[in-house]
């Protein structure tokens, strides 16, 4: 298996909250099977932000949704608090849901247009009652905390801007005192200055309420800003896992390096093979390392054998036969 392996899992750490091992998600479509996620492993430590970055279609959303079993992965395990979520029945799974919340990309579409804002935020309490610090009497305080004026509680979502809608989504997720919030491109639809507000808000909420975040984005600057640890994905596989600053200072996977060189403003040159190479089909992924069709450093072994994830020093892991550990790319802006 290429790009697989579990070397980067922190099994010794008692604070590991979610442990995903060898997760596979496949979709059957008329023209074959889409290999959306192929053997991805990662873990999340309490209070940490894990950033997932990669090109469109590489399986970021599918990975995150499979963690909360929406839909359930084809194979692999997702351990949360010692229970394997993939083994739970629907009703047991529903009982775990409050701990694993999610924020979506489209701020408008993620709020029911026919319900009031306080209704939307209070929905979790209606179902589960108070689970932690938030009760229906303290909704105002929660709205205050995410920057929504509580006086607007009786309004409908369409009366709010995109940024405000995203704040409402954040409040809805927080009301159940979750352990993990999955944020699937929560700022991609927002204007630049609003994006900063939401990023700051998520950072504050994480600090204040000790929640872990899984933050998905295709924007490397955003990922770097918000993440403690970053996982780079390519075609349903993990390429590289490292601390945010470390990854940006010393990208070792050739795909990560290509991403870094593509950051607007970066002066680095992207290798021609990246430019000419089209993203291969997820129905028929390349054998060996899935990046070999576009990789400037690909050799025969890359086409036949899949690399496994290995440490390249410190808390930095790469799945590559020829990792570029010597020559750091300078990221300028």
């Amino acid at each position: 298996m290429a790009g697989t392996g579990t070397a980067h899992l922190r099994d010794g750490d008692p604070n590991v909250l979610v442990r995903v091992e060898d997760m596979v998600v496949e979709f059957s479509i008329s023209s074959g099977t889409v290999h959306a996620v192929s053997g991805v492993s990662f873990d999340i430590v309490a209070g940490e932000t894990l950033g997932i970055v990669g090109e469109s279609g590489c399986g970021k959303s599918t990975t995150a949704r499979a963690v909360i079993q929406m839909p359930r992965p084809t194979s692999g395990s997702v351990t949360f608090n010692g229970t394997d979520l993939t083994q739970l029945g629907n009703e047991e799974l529903r009982k775990v849901r409050p701990d694993l919340q999610m924020i979506f990309q489209d701020p408008i579409s993620s709020l029911n247009p026919r319900r009031t804002v306080s209704d939307i935020i209070g929905e979790g309490l209606r179902v589960w009652g108070a689970r932690g610090q938030w009760t229906s009497d303290r909704l105002d305080e929660l709205m205050e905390a995410v920057g929504i004026d509580p006086r607007f509680g009786e309004r409908k979502p369409h009366q709010f801007s995109g940024g405000q809608c995203q704040r409402i989504s954040i409040a809805r997720a927080l009301v159940l005192d979750p352990k993990v919030i999955i944020c699937d491109e929560p700022v991609s639809a927002l204007d630049v200055s609003v994006q900063a507000q939401i990023l700051n808000l998520l950072e504050d909420m994480k600090q204040r309420y000790g929640v872990s975040l899984v933050f998905i984005s295709h924007d490397l600057s955003v990922i770097k800003n918000i993440s403690d640890r970053v996982m780079v994905m390519y075609m349903g596989k993990v390429c590289e896992v490292a601390g945010a600053d470390d990854l940006f200072a010393r990208p070792a996977h050739h795909y990560t390096r290509a991403l870094m060189a593509s950051i607007p403003g970066s002066k680095a040159v992207v290798e021609a093979s990246m430019i000419e190479g089209e993203l291969p089909s997820a129905i028929n992924p390349p054998t060996g390392c899935r990046f070999n069709t576009r990789c400037p450093a690909a050799t025969d072994i890359c086409r036949s054998e899949e690399p496994t994830i290995e440490a390249v020093g410190g808390d930095h892991y790469v799945a590559c036969h020829h990792p570029a550990t010597e020559t750091p790319v300078t990221v300028e802006s």
Binding site: I68, R94, R97, S109, S110, P113, R114, R115, G124
Partner: protein, 315 residues
């Protein structure tokens, strides 16, 4: 709050807002249609208690039809027959009378009662049964969807007319059999529309968000999905009512609508055909009323669809 408009300006990247004029125009047509429907309902409910509508001469013998309003049709009458010259307002009422001397307005109102009854009951059955099927299929998907889709496709692929003829012929021409027959057509059609609309809503992220919160499926269906499908259902209810009014007319033409002495719009029109040359008003009056009613139902349905379709209205 001026914020509201201004918020919208920055959230929706949609194009320019509608111009005022096109909206006003719409509203006028909409309210005219609503007005027509209200008048119709009042007439039907009041029935013979309405001083504007003459009593129906139930036992009237077959007599020559009376022209409406003017003596425009006088020439076609036989001058030998005395009755022909009678003032339309005296005997014939506003819309003249038919070959049995019954006032056309009166029978139209009377027929409207049964036509409307059939249309409304069928629509209600269609919305409840078809709507429920569509909602379940569209939201739960899986095997329920497969079964519902099969039901929809099978019923819609059986020639509708044959099905109706079969039911009415086998079971007799009572109102309830007509309702049953037409309902069998309305249910799959509405189920299909509601299913499509549900699929669209169920795909939206707020439904996913409710699932993530651990809300039970039934609750999601009623609290998140249904309120967003409802406007579509209501607007299609209006459209369906119109279609069924017409369908009942079709049945009447085939002699398959309710039995005498009950009358419906379809029956009046189909019975009046025989004397169309001499007394066209007998056919034209209920036809025009049917036409305006169906048109109004369509316009109201369309307008509601546009107004409350959350995507379309740019909310």
């Amino acid at each position: 709050m001026s914020n509201v408009a201004d918020n919208l300006a920055y959230t929706s990247k949609a194009g320019p807002p509608d111009t005022v004029d096109s909206k006003r125009e719409w509203n006028l047509i909409f309210w005219l249609s609503v007005g027509w429907l209200v008048i119709l309902v009042v007439f039907i409910l009041l029935g013979s208690a309405n001083p504007l509508v003459p009593e129906i001469e139930r036992n009237a013998d077959l007599i020559n039809a009376q022209p409406a309003l003017t003596n425009f049709w006088k020439d076609s009458c036989d001058p030998e027959v005395e009755r022909c010259g009678r003032d339309a307002f005296v005997v014939g009422g506003l819309f003249g009378n038919d070959d049995r001397g019954r006032d056309v307005l009166a029978i139209t109102v009377d027929g409207g009662r049964i036509s409307a009854f059939i249309a409304l009951v069928v629509t209600a059955i269609g919305i409840f049964v078809g709507g429920a099927l569509g909602l379940l299929a569209g939201y739960l998907k899986g095997w329920i969807d497969v079964v519902v889709q099969i039901i929809i496709n099978v019923t819609l692929s059986v020639p509708a007319l044959l099905l109706v003829i079969f039911i009415v012929v086998v079971r007799g021409r009572s109102i309830w059999n007509v309702i049953l027959a037409v309902s069998l057509l309305a249910i799959p059609a509405l189920a299909r529309i509601v299913r499509a609309s549900t699929l669209q809503v169920a795909d939206r992220e707020f439904v996913k968000a409710a699932e993530v919160l651990g809300v039970k499926k039934g609750s999601i269906l009623f609290r998140e999905v249904l309120p967003n499908v409802m406007p579509t259902m209501i607007s299609f209810a209006f459209l369906t009512t119109g279609i069924i009014l017409v369908a009942e007319g079709g049945l009447a033409f085939l002699g398959l609508s309710v039995e005498s002495p009950s009358i419906t719009w379809g029956r009046i029109i189909s019975d009046g055909r025989a004397d169309f040359r001499d007394s066209p008003w007998v056919v034209l009056t209920p036809s025009m009323i049917l036409f305006f009613t169906v048109l109004s139902l369509n316009l109201v349905g369309d307008h509601l669809l546009k107004r409350y379709d959350v995507r379309g209205s740019g909310l």
